[in-house]
Amino acid sequence: MSVDGTTSETASLEPTNVEPESSTGRERIAPTPDGTSQPTAGQPADGQAPAKPATPAKQGLSVKLEGLRAFYGDAEQVKGIDLEFNANQVTAIIGPSGCGKSTMVRCINRMHEEIPGARAQGRVLLDRMDVYDPGVDVVAVRRAIGMVFQKPNPFPTMSVFDNVAAGLRLSAGRGPGGKADLRSRVESALRGAGLWDEVSDRLDAPGAGLSGGQQQRLCIARSLAVEPEVILMDEPCSALDPIATLKIEELIEELKQRVTIVIVTHNMQQAARVADRTAFMLSGELVEVGPTEDIFTNPSDSRTEEYVTGKFG
């Protein structure tokens, strides 16, 4: 089963065409598939500052919800939430299906209002600016607050390269300076998403031809390319197998150096693994929020305890 003697628990699960990344956390000294090993030139090996040549490391911004309510027609799906997402931290949102997690997250970058009949009330402060302020351009909000969806959805007509470049080409405001600039931005986004080593030799292949996990990292690269300050992830791993999930989780750990991350998940172990803070929602209301460890080991609300221990429902 295993390909060599050094297999860890996870490595032994992997198929024989093992992808280079080790599963040991954030150190990604990736041997290339042909075994030549060692960090790629221009990329620091330790993952502290994921390849961002030329541009200084960007910082995430905090997001604060104040009395956020969201409706579909007359049905109130999110019933007044006050919650703060700290800059450069990962916050997980957990809760049963239909509790309003996704709806709440979609209110942050104003994607909620794209659904016919849907509207939101209250304030969403990006740093100190309300994204629902009448003078705010919704397009600019979405450039600053990227989003990764449940189902990997690379643009089917585009190559791997074009999928990432689409982020830049589609959002006019942060357009590329030139061809060389576009190339380097695409490369740095792919590196940021931990995908460069796997796709650098087939940038012209269709994006839809990658595996599910690679597609999802391609979508992450696509949102990274526009250099957002916040990334919202709506159950990004629910369509992926455990190995692909692990890679995304390692990636999240790295990404928080430069962005603020909000992740909706049904998988409580995932929340425990990746999140600095965790929020528990129930029927459109926020039950409890706190450091992840407290939520899972010492919740203050009995409903939280029932949910995280599996006694719920």
């Binding site: 600019a140 643009f155 007509t157 589609l170 959002s171």
Partner: protein, 301 residues
């Protein structure tokens, strides 16, 4: 085949799972009916193709495609000419009609799917498009005749025929394009919007390219339908023999040529109608083949 487990009641099991004779009979009856129906439906199709080939192929020759009809049909020895003007006229008229109907039709479909959605006005538009789909083609010809020929006191012209065909094609293009645009996954629009793309860019760069192969199929089917119409052209583009490249002039077309040829008492002229009919069918068949080839490459199928 496993050795374990006792099989005490094998006979009982067989009885329980056996196909009952009654069900077998019903199954055979239903299969027979469906097969018969299919064969019956194919008979007229095969006959049409058979007659077209047997009667039309004989009149095909180089001259048949390279000369205009002469109208000289009184003597057995006279040369009646070919169908060049009809082929070129059909191509010109249909090309102009497509150039008008396709952009407008796709524009309407994009509006319906991306902007109108389920608003009252969008549903009104859909209702009218459905009504237009069912309007007999001669009514479009009459409409153009009354408005552009009687109304302006002018004469027949190729472009007036094109306009009649445009009206005929529009509802087909709109409906087929709308169906294809609805197939584009909502997730693609969402992820493009979430990247901070303005809506027009989402449509132009993501939605339309994704839907393109499917839309081409629908559009080509509309073109094929328009190419075969006689009625809207009879009193808009008129009947003529000469080849014309001026859409402001009278213009011949294949369906109209066929229509006027089959009523002739001269056998050779009737044969020319068969040859022209075969030509038209082959042209439309080619369009359909192209449509199929393109839709096979569709990413949405």
């Amino acid at each position: 085949m496993s050795a374990q487990g006792t099989t005490p009641a094998q006979g009982e099991l067989l009885a329980r799972f056996a196909v009952s004779p009654a069900r077998r009979r019903k199954d055979q009856l239903a299969r027979g009916l469906i097969t018969a129906g299919t064969v019956i439906a194919l008979v007229p199709l095969a006959l049409v193709l058979y007659y077209l080939l047997s009667k039309g192929l004989g009149s095909w020759s180089w001259d048949f495609f390279s000369t205009d009809p002469t109208g000289n049909t009184f003597f057995k020895t006279s040369t009646i000419g070919g169908i060049k003007s009809a082929i070129l006229g059909t191509i010109e008229i249909v090309a102009l009609a497509s150039a008008i109907a396709i952009p407008i039709g796709i524009g309407v479909a994009v509006w319906l799917v991306e902007y109108g959605r389920n608003s009252a006005f969008a549903n009104l538009v859909r209702f009218f498009v459905d009504v237009l789909t069912g309007v007999p083609s001669i009514v479009f010809g009459l409409f153009i005749y009354i408005v552009l020929i009687v109304g302006t006191g002018s004469s027949y012209a190729g472009y007036k025929g094109s306009l009649a065909l445009t009206l005929l094609m529009l509802p087909v293009v709109i409906r087929s394009a709308e169906v294809i645009l609805l197939l584009v996954p909502a997730g693609l629009r969402e992820s493009a919007l979430a990247l901070g793309a303005p809506r027009w860019k989402v449509i132009a760069r993501i939605v339309l390219p994704t839907a393109l192969p499917g839309m081409i199929t629908g559009v080509l089917l509309a073109v094929a339908r328009a190419a075969g119409e006689t009625a809207p052209l009879l009193f808009t583009a008129a009947v003529t023999r000469k080849t014309s490249f001026d859409l402001g002039q009278f213009m011949n077309s294949l369906p109209v040529q066929i229509y006027s040829d089959v009523t002739s008492p001269t056998t050779s002229v009737v044969n020319r109608a068969w040859g022209a009919a075969l030509t038209l069918v082959v042209m439309i068949l080619l369009l359909n083949l192209i449509a199929r080839l393109i839709s096979r490459r569709s990413r949405l199928a």
